[in-house]
């Protein structure tokens, strides 16, 4: 599966742009702020149904316009699929698959798996647990529609429960029946999510260790990832019941899968506190590439790999080993951005894959070079 053609209208700093893409490697070079990352975000949007940035859909419209449109032609094994995303201010976002509108955007998720590696992603390793949960959720939502549905239900019921706890505190009243009703809805979806995360964490650890060893080029640095959840040794129903007094006091739900974490360590030292910059970067790459392998194994097709501005932050040996790894394993479509065209050309020149190189300037991409 790969994206063959991409058309952007009023997306970020793009007025109108049509791009042919290589099933192998696609390089976008240009200075900062020219729109390289926006191209990757457009691809991500077509795969996932939303932007990777923190902006709302309406904020993705080109300055001074009130709509944008993205069109992507994905080549799968036996057919060409057209995906169109339309966002208009004040209207519902529309996503179409071969001109047929999805009734539910979640139906789209997972059809075209994608992995994005960005320059700020090491935050995922050093910041709070939310980013790591997002990483797990992003992966499992692409492989398991039930997981996504459970997650959405869980978040909705959790919000109801927290609101109810707040209202009880404000009014000085308490309705145990209402909390029980909400708990009874949280428990089954929470259990499902927990079970899936547990299994995923085990597979992830195996994949990460393998890839990390390759990238760090160091046999002694053993990576461990431990899934931590309050559901580990207590049934969710009991956990909720046991924490009720505390929940009422703090006016929010204090235990549950929304507090889960993935604890990462290298040589048994927690990454959060002890990892060097180099270790963080290698580990992040390993995690994301592990996500790639997991998606590939589960879906039976190769995700699109988006590498955003990695080379400014990685040292030359790491870049070399990353490409060695990309070459050694089988990878599908890869899109890379870099500020330094000469550097990127040098890195990729020996790769035996069909390649497109676009020069990006002020919201316009020009084809520089192609080996197709």
């Amino acid at each position: 599966m790969y994206l063959q053609r991409l058309v952007l209208t009023n997306f970020k700093n793009y007025d109108w742009q049509s791009l042919e893409l290589s099933p192998g490697l696609n390089c976008f070079t240009g200075l900062n702020g020219m729109g390289k990352t926006n191209l990757l975000d457009a691809i991500y949007f077509l795969c996932i149904g939303k932007s990777r940035s923190a902006l709302t859909d309406a904020q993705l419209c080109r300055h001074g316009t009130d709509f944008f449109r993205l069109e992507g032609w994905f080549q799968t094994d036996d057919k060409l699929v057209q995906i169109v995303a339309k966002v208009q201010q004040g209207k519902r976002k529309i996503l179409e698959n071969n001109n047929l509108q999805y009734a539910n955007l979640s139906e789209h998720l997972g059809l075209f798996p994608v992995v994005f590696i960005g320059p700020d992603d090491t935050q995922m390793l050093t910041e709070g647990s939310e980013e790591r949960r997002k990483f797990i959720d992003n992966t499992l939502s692409q492989t398991d529609p039930t997981y996504l549905r459970c997650l959405m239900t869980y978040q909705k019921v959790l919000l109801q429960r927290n609101t109810a706890l707040k209202q009880f505190a404000e009014r000085g009243a308490f309705d145990a029946g209402l909390i029980q009703a909400l708990d009874a809805q949280l428990a089954p979806v929470g259990r499902y999510i927990h079970q899936k995360r547990k299994v995923f964490a085990i597979e992830l650890e195996a994949l990460v260790s393998l890839i990390y060893r390759h990238l760090a080029n160091n046999e002694e640095e053993r990576v461990q990832s431990r899934y931590c959840s309050s559901l580990q040794d207590t049934a969710f129903e009991d956990l909720l019941a046991r924490n009720l007094d505390k929940d009422r006091l703090l006016q929010r739900t204090t235990a549950g899968i929304h507090r889960d974490d993935l604890e990462l360590s290298i040589r048994s030292l927690p990454v959060k506190r002890f990892a060097s910059q180099g270790q963080l970067k290698s580990l992040l790459l390993a995690l994301k590439l592990a996500q790639y392998r997991y998606l590939e194994n589960q879906k039976g097709l190769q995700p699109v790999l988006l590498l955003d501005d990695l080379f400014d932050k990685l040292d030359a040996p790491r870049v070399a080993r990353l490409f060695q790894y990309l070459q050694s394993g089988s990878f599908g479509q890869v899109c890379i951005t870099d500020t330094d065209a000469a550097r990127l050309e040098k890195i990729v020149q020996n790769l035996a894959v069909p390649l497109y190189h676009y020069q990006v300037q002020n919201g316009s991409a020009q084809l520089q070079n192609s080996t197709l």
């Binding site: 009734a103 139906e107 019921v157 109801q160 609101t163 109810a164 209202q167 309705d175 209402l178 809805q185």
Partner: protein
Amino acid sequence: MNFSSKLLEEAVQAFASLPGIGRKTALRLVLHLIQREPQHTERFVQSLLRMRQGVRSCTVCYNLADSELCQVCIDPRRDRSLVCVVESIRDVMAIEDTHQYRGLYHVLGGVISPIEGIGPEQLHIEGLIQRVAQGEIQEVIMAVSPTIEGDTTIFYLSKKLREYPVRLTTIARGVSFGGELEYADELTLGRSIVARVPYQTDATSL
């Protein structure tokens, strides 16, 4: 739109304030009233006024009624051992239109959703429990929308009613009549398979 008469404009605005009625339709309705005899408008207004002043909530089921009790609660041919719990008055009308149900109703007035500021105390739940406690009711049918909030409400009610010897049922959820399987969404179709029913060929299943 420019009007030659202020009174006309006011009437158009009044109609246009109703849901589903735009300015053009409002104008059409007003012009129609002007063309008819004055008594027609009088009767029209009178019926609206009488409705607004006279209509009230049934004290038993919270359906709309002309007096203490609604037409359904008064009707002696209705099965008093059956109660169908619905969110709104419109749901009562929808079920009545099926001609399949001969029991009583109970209108909750919404579903539990703390985010929307609707807790159990905002709904007519106490009334339902009192009705069940009287003992005549044998089955309570939950005909609440299959949403997360609807499920919360059903679960809450089931807890409250657990101490009484009544049968709790929910309306079936599944593939719609005349619908084709390939167009049914996964969730609905999946549940329809899990909650499949024995094949039967009597007239009620058609």
